[in-house]
């Protein structure tokens, strides 16, 4: 959320208020995605950079981190540590040593006069919790053969109108909708008016849906096997790009009145999207826009992006969109 958001706010799911903490399901067991990309395990090697004084000689070891051992290095490469657990294995230039500080008992077991300071390698993505919940959502959706699409755009791009028209065009196909907005149930009401099942999430001051909110909505909606699940994210071209919800793909909707430069100004969202829909093409002749430039700018930030031009209002281009949806649904069930 933006610095102005304040995440401590309440989140409501169809009128039921839940605390933000609960929304994040803090109490639940979850996997930590420890990223060991740099080839280290938990007992890993840190290179240190304390400088040791050997008489007149000062030498420095190449370094990642600082820590005080609270002991003097009287050196010929044999360290005399006050801490018996702390063994260094020096191998010439390649200065590795095992971190025996790591997990040598809780700091609460304090030994007077001895430093308790330790370095703990974490290597955990800040969004690990969200990512783990999103992976859980994805497993559930996958098992059901549900195609979940995360619809992202700025406010007013025509997401809800496009969804209403899509629901009508899909006819009998089973589907459900999760609506994300800061306030009001106006969008869910519009969706329900088409006969589709919808759940409204009000994020309060939150500027994006997260995987916990969507997981809870999926629990309540119980999407039917082989159905579509449309997740209409909060209108915002920035934050929703970073939050995986467990969807099969993000679909970015960009209306032709917004300006050709938007993909360049908000590249993250269009990089994260598999498909961009250029909506409101019926207005293009009235507002001096260059649809080719829209597409060139989309491809500049995401060379692999698929692009469809359509007008939800006139129905022009809807056929290709429905075809795209059916192809993705078939993939979700494969």
């Amino acid at each position: 959320m933006c610095t102005v958001c304040g995440c401590g706010d309440k989140v409501t799911v169809d009128g039921k208020e839940i605390s933000h903490d609960e929304a994040h399901r803090l109490g639940l067991a979850h996997d930590h995605h420890h990223d060991h990309a740099q080839g280290h395990s938990h007992h890993h090697h840190h290179s240190h950079s304390h400088s040791h004084r050997h008489g007149d000689l000062v030498h420095e070891h190449p370094h990642d981190h600082h820590h005080d051992h609270g002991h003097d290095h009287a050196h010929g490469h044999s360290h005399d540590h006050g801490d018996a657990d702390h063994a260094h294995a020096h191998g010439g230039d390649d200065h590795h040593h095992d971190h025996h500080h790591y997990g040598t008992g809780p700091a609460g077991v304090s030994v007077p006069g001895m430093s308790q300071e330790r370095l703990i390698a974490v290597e955990t993505s800040i969004l690990a919790k969200n990512d783990a919940l999103a992976a859980g959502n994805r497993r559930v959706l996958r098992a059901l053969g549900v195609l979940a699409l995360n619809l992202v755009s700025s406010p007013g791009s025509g997401k809800t109108t496009l969804l209403c028209r899509t629901i009508q065009a899909l006819g009998e196909a089973p589907l459900a909708v999760i609506e994300g907005d800061q306030q009001t149930s106006a969008d869910a009401d519009r969706i329900r008016a088409t006969g589709a099942r919808a759940i409204q999430i009000n994020t309060g001051k939150g500027c994006h849906l997260d995987a916990a909110m969507v997981g809870r909505a999926i629990d309540d909606l119980r999407p039917r096997p082989g159905s579509y699940l449309f997740i209409e994210n909060v209108g915002n071209l920035v934050c929703p790009a970073a939050f995986d919800l467990g969807e099969a793909a993000k679909v970015a909707i960009l209306s032709v009145t917004e300006g050709e430069d938007k993909p360049l100004k908000y590249p993250d969202m269009f990089t994260a999207a598999r498909l961009a829909i250029l909506n409101k093409t019926d207005l293009a002749p009235h507002c001096d826009v260059d649809l080719g430039l829209y597409e060139a700018n989309l491809r500049r930030v995401n060379p692999g992006i698929e692009i469809l031009r359509l007008s939800a209002r006139t129905g022009e281009g809807m056929g290709a969109w429905l075809e795209w949806l059916r192809a993705r649904l078939a993939e979700a069930q494969a």
Binding site: M1, T3, C5, I120, K129, C239, P267
Partner: protein, 113 residues
């Protein structure tokens, strides 16, 4: 973009780690932030101070390490390092690049007491 949320993610990881490793105070917390992560560092610094209050990381020093941005060039099919998201390929001048890294936001390590 949503630095308050990120700070809350950090707090929750700090609290998990404090339970696992049994420490009571974090002195230094080091983050690795990719160039394309979209993190506003001054905003995160501010959010960190506010959100860590009452946690083991209250008053901790936050250090942010920049990681380079990498992208795959669709024209020459090589992975290159670029400073800015919209930079052309430094090898072939191509303008069609897709980020391949540099969106990292992770806690690298913590010095704890």
């Amino acid at each position: 973009m949503h630095e308050m949320s990120l700070a809350e993610g950090i707090r929750s990881i700090v609290e998990d780690q404090a339970r696992t490793h049994g420490f009571s105070r974090v002195r230094v917390l080091r983050l690795e932030i990719g160039r394309f992560a979209g993190v506003e560092k001054p905003a995160l610094d501010f959010a960190f101070d506010v959100v860590m209050r009452g946690s083991p990381a209250e008053g901790a020093r936050l250090e942010m390490i920049d990681l380079p941005g990498q992208a795959l060039c669709y024209d020459c099919a090589r992975t290159v390092e670029i400073a800015d998201r919209l930079d052309p390929c430094p090898l072939c001048g191509g303008g069609r690049l897709i980020p391949q890294g540099g969106d990292e936001m992770r806690i690298k390590d913590m010095e704890v007491l």
